[in-house]
């Protein structure tokens, strides 16, 4: 273990809803170990320099998805953003495109509602199987959506998405990718139900394929790809409905 430390300047956005009219920056000088991630440096501030700093974190291992912040303008999971890849001066802000609750904590109510809206669960139209039966899924069928199950709802993609920034009605990357995960699941029969929401006005068509969501995703979920595939599905389904062909049930 290296004992070498590096002095870093952390410019942290502060906002106290009871006192401040607008956010402001406070600079902390932090002696960082070379193997630290940004979250370690923020924890150092909390433990040693300023107990009033508010931020979210839990697992410190890229699983819980709660420590997403803007690091030098880039939406990042701070537990996987190593300081050795950063300059001596780093600016930390709460995730863009979300209202600030306090300091680095953002209000996530909007995306929570959107995640719910896309019906992210298996929908069956037929009777459930008998007690001794189960829904069979081959490995090939799993591979069709496995990448999409990696999402940890860190919401870095929403912070990167300019279309969500410009229009809060847009369902947005993570929720759409999650919907696509169920659309592609061979056990699910709710694809046409979901398309009625997803292919409506504030669904997939508000995406202009900037691709920023996929670039910043710490889990390589690639929401941009999922959304384009849903556009193809939506366009095909539109003509199927026009021509009276029954919708895709699987």
């Amino acid at each position: 273990m290296s004992t070498q430390t590096r002095q870093m300047e952390l410019e942290v956005m502060r906002y106290d809803p009871e006192k401040d009219d607008a956010p402001w920056f406070q600079t902390y000088s932090v002696p960082c170990m070379e193997d630290w991630v940004i979250l370690d440096a923020i924890n150092y501030v909390k433990d040693n320099l300023d107990t009033t700093l508010a931020y979210r974190w839990s697992c410190h291992m890229m699983v819980c998805g709660s420590c997403g912040m803007m690091v030098n303008g880039e939406p990042s999971l701070t537990c996987k953003t190593f300081i050795r890849e950063l300059p001596d001066k780093v600016r930390i802000e709460p995730l863009e495109n979300f209202p600030i609750e306090r300091d680095l904590v953002v209000v996530l109510d909007d995306v929570m509602q959107k995640l719910h809206q896309v019906q992210p669960y298996i929908i069956r139209k037929d009777d459930p199987p008998a007690e001794d039966k189960e829904y069979i899924q081959s490995r090939g069928a799993l591979a069709k959506f496995k990448q999409l199950t990696m999402c940890i709802n860190c919401m870095c993609c929403y912070a990167a998405c300019p279309q969500y920034a410009l229009n809060k009605d847009f369902i947005g990357p993570a929720a759409l990718a999650l919907a696509h995960r169920y659309n592609r699941d061979n056990r699910d029969q709710g694809k046409s139900d979901r398309l009625d929401i997803l292919a409506d006005h504030d669904g997939v068509w508000d995406c202009s394929f900037v691709g920023a969501c996929s670039e910043v995703c710490p889990k390589h979920v690639d929401p941009a790809a999922a959304i384009q595939q849903m556009k193809v599905d939506g366009a095909v389904e539109f003509w199927k409905q026009k021509m009276g062909i029954p919708g895709d049930k699987s």
Binding site: L166, L195, D196, W205, K231, V232, G234, A235, F238
Partner: protein, 114 residues
């Protein structure tokens, strides 16, 4: 049912985007050759006319032009939004009208040839 009509224009946008990506570099290169005064043989009146008179030639030219103008129109609608123009219905009407005019003109001139 609730699938927005954007599905239709997006389909044209995607098909047109693919087609322009493949065809337009060569098309621009031909205009470049014309601009330098080295008009290729196939673009001399007799040859290009023979091509445009044939139904295959007409079909190819129409499909390229039709999808290209609809591709561009839909993207221009997004560009307007991205530059802060919030009157989407008005913009949509304007750009799709341009695309419709382009489509009709292309069909009209192609039918006039030959």
């Amino acid at each position: 049912m609730a699938i927005a009509k954007k599905a239709v224009v997006w389909g044209l946008f995607a098909a047109g985007g693919t087609l322009t990506s493949f065809v337009f570099p060569a098309l621009i290169a031909l205009f470049l050759l014309i601009a330098t005064g080295n008009v290729p043989e196939g673009l001399q009146f007799d040859q290009i006319r023979t091509f445009a008179v044939s139904w295959l030639g007409k079909a190819c030219l129409f499909i390229v032009l039709f999808l290209s103008v609809w591709h561009a129109a839909h993207r221009l609608r997004v560009v307007a939004h991205d530059f802060g123009i919030r009157k989407d219905a008005l913009v949509a009407n304007a750009v799709y009208t341009i695309a419709a005019i382009g489509s009709v003109l292309a069909a009209f001139y192609l039918l006039m040839i030959g």
